[in-house]
Symmetry: C2
Subunit: 202 residues, 2 copies
């Protein structure tokens, strides 16, 4: 049997999609959570000096989306045809583009910058990026027959979107107002009945 | 027979890996090059209002790396096992991270900003990002048995790295000095004997 170890910090962050995939597929794995204090002792063990990293019988795979795609393909959550897998990948890269665009706002929030600076970044950087992402997600959801982003059902990109938007809802409960199609993904994932997906308040 | 159409501008850019994959695999496709003047007439036809987009019998796949991965898997250039595919994907996402880090320098160069500003961005942003990427690529190349980034041979990420570094060499011929392992990828790709990969001066 394959021995999986998932290395990350003791937060959800970029490892959470993969933890959800292990939970959904009921696959045993070691969830190795490294503290920030201990991280300098482990950094050189990681191929790109970053986490998450997935060890598959000792082979170290870096990069969160590469890990998620690999696990999703093993467990049946990557899309059910090559074309659908490509569409899930495209959604993944688009979400990454959104994340990179919105990043100056996320980092400023994390660093507790002055309110005026945050408000400016929120209005000029974050909200336009988020609204564009919602528009694209909703276009996919309108066409989908499954209540998830692609026709055949739940994939790793639904898990990422729900985890991230769940975090945003924690800060700003109105995040999903007017976005009922997106909210449907949350409701459908809740029905999957597995451990703690991040949509308690949605 | 599948009917492929690749939509992009009339430049290499983010479509070039996919064009190379069509050339390597000798697969017929329509290379639809849209001018910047005509782009506003086509923007709404694209799922994320950006190009490249690949049409597969009318199904529109956006995002350059999603397209490249899809074609590479169809044509045998994605890695030869699920673990190797994951490693190629991880390299792809790492190269994207490098690209995002170095982007302020690329855009300032493109906008012909003053020399002093460019020099500062080059030294503080671009060179550290590039040197880190070289270090990671060289770690993979040291372990690889094939002269490409993964053991089983040429994949789409080699094509992307060579195309991008080939462009950099056009601006700065010393780019690969001291990076002989990386230069080997260029020499190996030249031996594949297909149309115009971007490494004429390497």
């Amino acid at each position: 049997m394959v021995h999986y170890k998932l290395y990350y910090f003791d937060v959800r962050g970029w490892a959470e999609i993969s933890r959800q995939l292990f939970a959904l597929s009921k696959t045993p794995y070691e969830d190795i959570q490294i503290t920030h204090e201990d991280w300098p002792n482990h950094k050189q063990e990681m191929p790109f000096e970053k986490m998450p990293v997935l060890s598959v019988d000792g082979v170290m795979i870096p990069q969160s989306f590469a890990i998620a795609r690999y696990l999703a393909r093993q467990f049946g959550y990557a899309g059910k045809s090559p074309l659908e897998e490509a569409m899930v990948d495209a959604l993944g890269d688009q979400v990454k583009d959104y994340f990179n665009e919105a990043y100056p706002y996320f980092i400023a929030s994390h660093q507790q910058k002055p309110a005026e600076e945050l408000e400016k970044l929120k209005n000029e950087v974050f909200l336009p990026a988020r609204d564009l992402l919602f528009r694209y997600l909703e276009n996919f959801l309108k066409k989908s027959k499954s209540g998830y982003l692609v026709d055949s059902g739940l994939t790793w990109i639904d898990l990422f979107v729900v985890d991230h938007l769940g975090t945003l809802c924690g800060f700003e409960p109105s995040t999903l107002d007017g976005h009922e199609l997106v909210r449907v993904i949350f409701h459908n994932i809740k029905k999957e009945k597995y451990h703690g997906v991040n949509c308690v308040n949605v």
